[in-house]
Amino acid sequence: MSWQIGIEDLDALAIGAAILGTGGGGDPYIGRVMAETAIRENGSVTVYNVDDLDDDRWVIPIAGMGAPTVLFEKVPRGTEPVAAFRRLEDHLGVQDAFPCPIEAGGINSMVPLQVAALLKRPVVDADGMGRAFPALYMQTFHIFGIQGTPACIASEFDDFVILDHLHDNYALEWIARGITIRMGGHTFLSQFPMRGHDVKRSAIRGTLSLGLRIGKAVLLAEKNHRDPLEAVCEATHYAGYGRGQIVFSGKIVEVSRRTADGFARGKVRIQGLNADRDQSFEIEFQNENLLIRHEERILAMVPDLITVLDSHTGLAVTTERLRYGQRVAVLVIPAPAIMKSPEALQVWGPRGFDYDFDYEKYFGR
């Protein structure tokens, strides 16, 4: 079943996508403005269920790449995402591909909506990350053996680079990020062009709906003076994701960061409040939150979604904005099965982030 997404949904999607961003993915604000402008001009966007795709239909996942700090300063021209999409279509000799998110979390939830609205095409209700992740090979499309190239990277000068062939998806990540730096630190790219039958076997389904659903729950709770945290937890139980759980609430007492290979690694220590008084927790992050430590135990870890929420509003706090003294609640959303296959865990389980232990699912405190 397809459905329509309109301007009135964008507030909710921005909130939900920030929560699925697990601390990273960038503030959706600018992507939101771009999508809103396009939808205002061309009308609402049809959202296509994966099951309804023709097996032969071309689908091109599209996203922004690079540093959110650059994006917030060097705001896009607005034409880059469509340029990256159309140039790749030209390269493939295709004219009717559907855009699809690569990443359900953060600003990249909005980019395909803008493309879909401008081209008056449907967007696919799925993505390759199921949340936010820091590297292009961290997608189910890669895990299922689909080739990332040909790909296209576009800048605000209408410059574009076609990556026609790279021997694997790790090379795609390496080369695309290098080009992105030379282009000023943020670009838009289209990659993993594939047919409907490949989308059906490899995509994480329903994640656009999931983001919208979570955001709507937060807004509704606010309107009805209900607890937003409870509302978020209920809303995540959808499309194979588990029911969300608030692991603990507290206040941030220490944030430490360091740069390692271009990634902002760090940890945040949170002192429990109320029911969790006198307890101390630590979240380790690399742009996104990776795991939660409590005493000697690891309570939750990638790829399960760990998001720090403002305890009062239920809105996500990104790792760049973590600061001493904030009052927060820490949410864990169990990831769907497709993200926890042995092949997937090799890519984005703890070992994918240089930890020397295996994934264990979240059992609660």
């Binding site: 690079g66 700090t69 300063e73 060097k74 021209r77 742009n287």
Partner: protein, 517 residues
């Protein structure tokens, strides 16, 4: 001979204080604000001079904290239209200036805007040559209808070259225009910085009226002192600087109040509670400055990236209603507010308030009648009120260690001398003029907030460089180099970018040069 005069123009009162060279309060006054700001400042200054028995020429420095600029934005009054120049095209075209502004404000401010080529990348290299001809054409068409221009270039906090070029152009060819440059106002984050810059340009006329009122009032009473404005972060701007960057005064009220209270208590680290009639604000002072909020702040409904003091507001004050239901007793969040002097039991009314239960518990002596509330209920209600306050204090604190609590505001008399998590409760003298004192004791600051490439240099070198830049900025603003202290050092690596660039934020502050301290 070297006394300082602190003035706070608030919504209802104009307060003034005179401090001795060693920071003793010589005289203070509170006078009602009249429509005419000049006369209310003049009256307040006359009153403190008279009280202190000092001649007008004993005042060497005069500091003004004012909400006039803030109110102009919130009330949408007396704002002037702005010409907006955005430098960075073809980037940034997706989100034009004033996107997301409330319609009422947009209407007053919007006059003409242009987006031209230019700007820089995050590493400081130019994106494109500056479109000076387009800017000149834009100014030729619009300059005659404008008094104020806002200039915002992509990555100007890293490289300000293009904004400075526009300033020079306007200075040479359109000298009647006031120019607001974004890199001098905000930090990285183009839209928020541009919003702040446009607001700054829109209050240029209000600011100049406020500054003239201040000067005129002082001249009328014969004070010939160096004049300063208090700004958001608890430091001062010289008059000429304040005229160029009036938006930086927008949150000086709560900052001055907290710094003033801390100063009166002789404490640099403490939690501060301001208990009013309807609500209480809790904040924290560390190293003499308010801890700042991590959230971006909206001013008059517009996103900016200013940082403001981190405050928790509790729905609990002297007039908060006490209610008893089957299971429990509640205090607030609704309040009788200013009607407390008619409606509270201790004033002869029939509403049970926080004030009544505090009097019932013999924690305060207020009003002219004994409350009729039972001992049991007043004890439970008082305990509930303290629970709310203690939880608020705990949320604000940095560790479980007990901290001193500075209690100010009309309702602070209701608080006991012992509270959970509090080492001592301090009730400073003169707290009713804490804002004016906060302005009078303010220091001069310098600031750096920009992106540094870390390649080829050690992190320490970069931080040292940034500190030196901030120190030079403070000295330029009038600080004495020997008294400079580092208030804040923060380094945030740029995510998803393997080029080792970090955003570094440094604030230093020191005493006014030539100040006799």
């Amino acid at each position: 001979m070297k006394y300082r005069l602190g003035i706070d123009v608030g919504g209802t009162n104009t307060d003034a204080v005179i401090l001795t060279p060693d920071d003793m309060v010589v005289a203070k006054t509170k006078t009602p604000v009249t429509r005419d700001v000049v006369s209310s400042i003049r009256d307040a200054v006359r009153a403190v001079l008279k009280d202190s028995e000092l001649p007008a020429d004993a005042i060497s420095h005069a500091m003004l904290g004012t909400t006039q600029v803030t109110n102009a934005i919130i009330e949408r009054q007396r704002l002037n239209p702005v010409g907006m120049i955005r430098i960075g095209a073809p980037a940034t075209l997706a989100v034009p200036p004033l996107t997301g502004w409330p319609a009422s404000l947009k209407e007053m401010v919007q006059r003409a805007s242009i987006m031209v080529r230019g700007g820089h990348e995050f590493d400081g290299r130019p994106m494109a040559p500056l479109g000076l001809n387009d800017i000149r054409r834009f100014l030729d068409e619009n300059a005659h209808t404008l008094s104020s221009i806002a200039v915002t270039a992509v990555f100007s906090p890293v490289n300000a070259e293009h904004e400075l070029a526009v300033r020079d152009l306007i200075g040479d060819e359109y000298p009647h225009l006031t120019v607001s440059l974004s890199h001098e106002i905000g930090s990285v984050g183009l839209l928020e910085r541009e919003n702040a810059t446009v607001l700054n340009a829109a209050v240029a006329e209000v600011a100049s009226m406020a500054a003239n009122a201040f000067e005129d009032a002082l001249r009328e009473v014969g004070v010939e002192a160096a004049l300063f404005f208090a700004q958001n972060d608890g430091t001062l701007m010289a008059m000429d600087y304040a005229l160029r960057y009036p938006i930086l005064t927008v949150a000086c009220g709560p900052t001055n109040s907290m710094r003033g209270a801390a100063f009166l208590s002789r404490l640099d680290d403490a939690v501060i509670i301001d208990v009013g009639g309807t609500s209480s604000d809790i904040g924290m002072i560390r190293g003499g400055f308010p801890r700042q909020s991590s959230l971006a702040v909206e001013v008059g409904g517009v996103r900016t990236n200013f940082r403001m003091p981190d405050l928790i507001a509790l729905g609990l004050g002297g007039g908060s209603r006490v209610r008893e239901s089957e299971e429990r007793v509640t205090v607030g969040p609704d309040s009788v507010g200013y009607r407390i002097i008619e409606e509270a039991q201790v004033f002869g009314g029939d509403v049970l308030t926080f004030t009544d239960v505090a009097v019932g518990q013999k924690k305060a002596h207020i009003g002219h009648r004994n409350p009729t509330v039972s001992q049991d209920l007043s004890e439970r209600a008082y305990r509930e009120a303290l629970r709310i306050i203690e939880e608020g204090i705990d949320r604000m604190k940095t560790s479980a260690e007990p901290v001193p609590l500075i209690a100010v505001g009309g309702g602070s008399a209701l608080l006991p001398d012992r509270l959970e998590g509090v080492s001592e409760v301090i009730r400073p003298l003169h707290f009713d003029v804490a804002n004016a004192i906060g302005a009078a004791i303010a220091q001069v600051s310098g600031r750096v907030d920009r992106i540094y490439a870390m390649t080829g240099r050690s992190r320490d070198q970069v931080i040292q460089d940034a500190i030196a830049t901030a120190q030079a900025d403070a000295v330029r603003a009038g600080a004495d180099r020997n008294t400079l202290e580092i208030i804040e050092v923060e380094e945030i690596p740029l995510a998803y970018l393997p080029s080792n660039a970090s955003r570094v934020r440094i604030t230093v502050a020191g005493q006014l040069a030539g100040d006799p301290l």
